[in-house]
Amino acid sequence: MNLRTSPYGKNRAQPPFRRPVRQAVVVAAFAAVSALVLSGCSPVESTAGTVDETLFAGQNLGATAAAADVSVGGTLVFALSNDPGVLDPTFSNAIVGKHIFASMCESLYTVTGDGGFAPVLATEAPTISDDGLTYTIPLREDAVFSDGEPLTAASVVASIERNKTAEGSLRASELAAVERAEATDEYTVVLHLSKVSAPLLSVLADRPGMPLSTNAMAGDFGAAPSCVGPFRYDSSIAQTSVELVKDPNYYDADKVFLDAISFRVITDASVRLANLRSGDVQVADRLPASQAAALLEDKDVELLYSTSLGYQGVHVNLANTNGVGSDPVAVDTTLASDPRVRQAFSMAIDRQTLVDTVFDGAFLPACGPVSPATEYASEATQACPEFDPEAAKALLDEVGIATPVPVTLSVQASEDASRYAQALQSNAADAGFDVTINTLDFATVTSDQKIGNFDATLLGWAGRTDPDGSIAPFFLSTGSQNYTGYHSEEMDALLADSVSTTDIAERTETYAQIVELLQEDNPYIYLYRERNFVGQGTSTAGVITDPTSVVNVSFAGFLK
């Protein structure tokens, strides 16, 4: 008999502790685990005085690098929060694609730090005719596409035609006001508009304004893109990485320090930040809001930030029963039944406390679609309803609605959205709204929105430079993204007014009226506005961003 393994010998296997000690250990462990779990359940408390809400007032868009400080050469690695998708400006549908286009495809104009515009491939601002229907754009004469073809007015006209007419073009609706483009001489483009369009300049500063090489357009552009830019496309692996190399044909090639840029897709925000801290990447976009305050103090990371042009909030289904674009059929939910119920919901939400609790004050409350980062921010466009749960309950009594009011809220399965929805649920319960959260993946949420298969959805909008892009698609009766089924002649008239002039003061006044109407009818309840947080590591300088959140690393370099 082998004494070592026999159950009878003196070396037989023993439990490590005697019974009473084991019981004590088990009870203590159970108590510790319960305490940890239960501590997660607590009501939303006011955070007044504990969170510094002024930390990110204003913006930090970064600064260009001085030639004396940086060395020439090196490959900068940029961690992208999402897959950039197809690298063709006509068909690109991903916001992160703009970070790549910033280095690879310059456009006619660009957005400046104060929300204005500056010429890039154009030489000056467009000359607009008195009736607003003709734009004359002079082009620079020394620009060359990365494949060697020179940039002329003819290639700009061809690019605009392609954006308007290519089947499946995502830029066609943005260029809807442009009837035709004409090359009046080798370096002058004239756009003939069918109606006055205030947003057109911002459109020319975005993807529709990026000239594409005629040769590359003739083939599969997405596989071999060619535009004018400091860098040109080298290679890519789908959903993983994109490599750009310095373009010797660029007109300002001597101002470019880097040899190459490598974009890597890292979707998890914590992993992106860890990569930035360890130096494996030099730039990362969309850093987690909960870390923003700590990152301001972090000496390993330079935090760039700006206020988003968009917003986050709740679409309420009013009359979308058969899909967007179909005739409105009233939806049978308490929220949809009376605008005063929605007003009560809006008054029941403590927007400031929610962003302080969920995002540590890194985001800000929002009550309307006009971002404070635009030229149309005024006291009227930034007006907010008071947080007043008592008044909310009184309003519900007045309408004759019994509490609790049931609300089914569809939420996409992202960390920020889930946490915010739970805090919202807790907050709204105090005023008599019983919110049920329904978590779905993003594609399901957008599909449900279109067919009207929702009661309320927590879904935001990334925003556009011109406020029209953030309002008209949703609230125009014929809007392509009118998920709520909102139809209002008054709103249609106001929106038509808002784009019929380019005068900023006049448009701001119209937007004030639009915001007032939106806060009366509440088809969409605005809740908060994100900030764009971009991190730059300490080994590089010269990374800049702009109010549209596009990050441009073209003129960055490694510090000596």
Binding site: N2, S92, S169, I237, Q239, L273, A274, A443, T446, W461
Partner: protein, 318 residues
């Protein structure tokens, strides 16, 4: 022999056909479609209709399936709607990465499991056994995605021992290739190591108490020889079976680990294609995986029939 082979081949083809139907219908049951995803936030109905027509989504399901089947049989896996690249190219770029990750994971977890299992069995009743048991319990209980994020934050970010994410091909930099894969492989292998350890321990305990081990000790063999040559050899057969059974779990766990560590593997490709409703890519990945399993099973069956003539003749043993 020919009859045996043709029956097996027929079963293989039927299995693949069934898989193609299940995945084809399965992904189309999800709300949304690739046309909506491709349109991004420009949800213009005309644009979406144009994409639907281009992808053939406006045709009846049966017609779509028929076109898909015809393409499949001719070896055409189609084009990805989200990236515009051929599906075959995307799979060819990503499959090797997953295979490399799985291979390193299996090697590391088997070595880990055997080492701890032998220690637990040999020093039974003493601290090595309790340490091994504790480690195997943690390995089975702790979710590996949580462990992955902890590892990135502490090992990569705070101390910079290992790269935080990404992949470097072996041909470019063998050292970098290994450093990028070792953390994901260790974390992916925690549960396999735990399972191998438990099984090895119980097999070894039985083997160490057996008579042939007693006989070899009596004959004067040294302890290392007794443990490795005599006792361990008999335990390894079960480990091989275990690894085979766990291969499936390994591949699905790989999808999560690949997402976290940014490894461009086929698991991450499959998960992304579900979120992007990229029908062609998901169908392609599933069909390729199914084909690999079927081919391996067929090869193993053939191998059995070669080793054991009874199977070859009658299709069963005795």
């Amino acid at each position: 022999m020919l009859r045996f082979l043709s029956i097996k081949l027929f079963h293989a083809v039927m299995t693949l056909l069934l898989v193609s139907i299940v995945v084809f219908i399965g992904i189309r049951l999800l709300p949304g479609d690739p046309a909506q995803i491709m349109a991004g936030d420009n949800q213009d109905p005309a644009v979406i209709a144009a994409y639907r027509a281009e992808l053939g989504l406006d045709q009846p399901m049966v017609v779509q399936y028929w076109h898909y089947l015809v393409d499949l049989v001719t070896g055409n896996l189609g084009m990805s709607s989200s990236s515009g690249r051929p599906v075959a190219e995307m799979i060819a770029q990503t499959l090797p990465v997953t295979v490399q990750l799985a291979a390193i994971t299996i090697v590391l977890s088997v070595v880990c499991g055997l080492a701890f299992g032998v220690a637990a069995a040999y020093w039974r009743g003493r601290w090595p056994e309790w340490l091994s048991n504790g480690i195997s319990l943690l390995g089975l209980s702790i979710p590996n995605f949580w462990l992955a994020i902890l590892a990135i934050v502490y090992l990569a970010s705070a101390i910079s021992w290992l790269p935080a994410s990404g992949f470097v091909p072996f041909a470019t930099d063998p050292g970098g290739w290994f450093l990028h894969l070792i953390m994901p492989a260790l974390i992916l292998g925690t549960s396999l190591c735990a399972v191998v350890m438990r099984q090895t321990r119980s097999n070894m305990i039985e083997a160490l108490g057996s008579e042939y081990v007693l006989a070899s000790r009596v004959k004067g063999a040294g302890e290392p020889r007794v443990v490795v040559v005599h006792a361990l050899r008999n335990s390894i057969i079960v480990v091989v079976t275990l690894v085979g059974l766990h291969a499936g779990a390994l591949l699905s766990g790989a999808a999560v680990i690949e997402q976290i560590f940014g490894l461009p593997g086929v698991g991450r490709l499959a998960v992304n294609s579900v979120f992007l409703r990229d029908y062609a890519v998901l169908q392609g990945v599933v069909m390729v995986s199914a084909a690999v399993y079927v081919v391996i099973n067929l090869a193993v069956d053939l191998l059995y029939s070669v080793i054991d003539p009874r199977i070859r003749v009658s299709g069963r043993t005795a």
